[in-house]
């Protein structure tokens, strides 16, 4: 079956194109060759130095990072302490709250109370401003 076609295939396999004047062609190829790129040779000692330098840089960066982390944590601790103090300070103020004396003139007592209250508020504001000033300086 398909003898003629198989015959074409078989005969084609035996056909080889002719390269005329191969010597001349080889010369033309050699003439067209670029110079080989020179690869830079890395000396083992300089490679070791490079590795040491990288390690040194890495450890320095890690140390700086640790220091920054420590400082940041410390700053955070101060703010935490401040929030703990504030309620305690309020309770101390409350302890010194004057009680109303029913035997005295109520209008006078109210006026005195308001006066003290104003004084306490201004003291508290002063204290707060001092605390906030401390916080910013940290």
């Amino acid at each position: 079956m398909n003898n003629q076609i198989d015959n074409i295939f078989d005969r084609l396999q035996k056909q080889q194109p002719e390269l005329h004047d191969p010597e001349l062609f080889a010369d033309s190829i050699i003439a067209a060759l670029p110079d080989r790129p020179q690869k830079s040779i890395v000396h083992p000692a300089s490679r070791r130095k490079g590795v040491i330098l990288i390690l040194h840089t890495f450890s320095s960066v890690a140390a700086v990072l640790l220091l920054v982390l420590f400082l940041w944590q410390s700053y955070d601790g101060i703010t935490f302490h401040e929030t703990e103090v504030s309620p305690d300070y309020s309770s101390q103020l409350a302890k010194y709250q004057p009680q109303f004396d029913l035997s005295k003139d109520p209008a006078q007592q109210i006026a005195q109370y308001q006066e003290r209250k104003q004084e306490q508020i201004s003291q508290r504001n002063q204290m707060r401003s001092i605390l906030s000033l401390n916080k910013t300086t940290h």
Binding site: I5, N7, I8, Q15, Q16, E23, S28, I29, L33
Partner: protein
């Protein structure tokens, strides 16, 4: 395939062009043959041959000495031909190709070696209607007489895909030849 001594390769790596000339002489016919059959054009085949040797010269350090050197250089040429085929638009069948094919089929001297232009016309007449992949499979297996495994290695096309492309290529060529009156 032709083999080359490892010391020659080492000398080439060191930049010895005279040593590289030995490689060129040893492989140029083989590489020209495959490039010619894949591209069906003598000038383009010579162009690819030059490109191949320059590529080999520049990448000799990448050659794995465990592999056959001939297979390595052959593979480089096949890949450069594949790139060239992809760049080309469509394979135009020349008007005289059919006539050349008829002359080849009816040649009273079946062992006569064809001129390059005749051979290019006959191959073009057979493969011009194939896809690139079918053409590669047909050229490597039928015209270069490689096994499917060898063709797969040098072209980088998986063996299964190559086998199916080869089957379709053969069927297409047979159909075309039957239509032209061959049996």
């Amino acid at each position: 395939m032709t083999s080359i001594d490892p010391p020659v390769i080492q000398r080439c790596i060191a930049g010895d062009k005279a040593a590289f000339r030995e490689i060129v002489i040893a492989y140029q016919r083989l590489l020209f043959g495959v490039a010619f059959k894949m591209l069906c054009d003598e000038d383009e085949a010579k162009d690819i041959l030059q490109e191949s040797f320059i590529h080999i010269w520049q990448h000799l350090e990448d050659y794995d000495q465990q592999r056959n050197f001939g297979s390595w250089v052959y593979g480089i040429t096949v890949h450069l031909c594949l790139d060239r085929l992809r760049q080309k638009d469509r394979w135009g069948e020349m008007p005289e190709d059919e006539e050349l094919l008829a002359q080849f089929a009816d040649d009273p001297e079946p062992d006569r070696q064809l001129e390059n232009s005749e051979l290019a016309g006959v191959i073009r007449g057979l493969v011009s209607r194939l896809s690139d992949q079918q053409r590669i499979a047909f050229t490597l297996v039928h015209l270069e007489n490689l096994t499917v495994a060898e063709a797969s290695t040098v072209s980088g096309i998986p063996a299964d895909k190559l086998k199916s492309n080869l089957y379709v290529a053969r069927q297409n060529i047979r159909k075309q030849l039957i239509q032209s009156g061959y049996e």
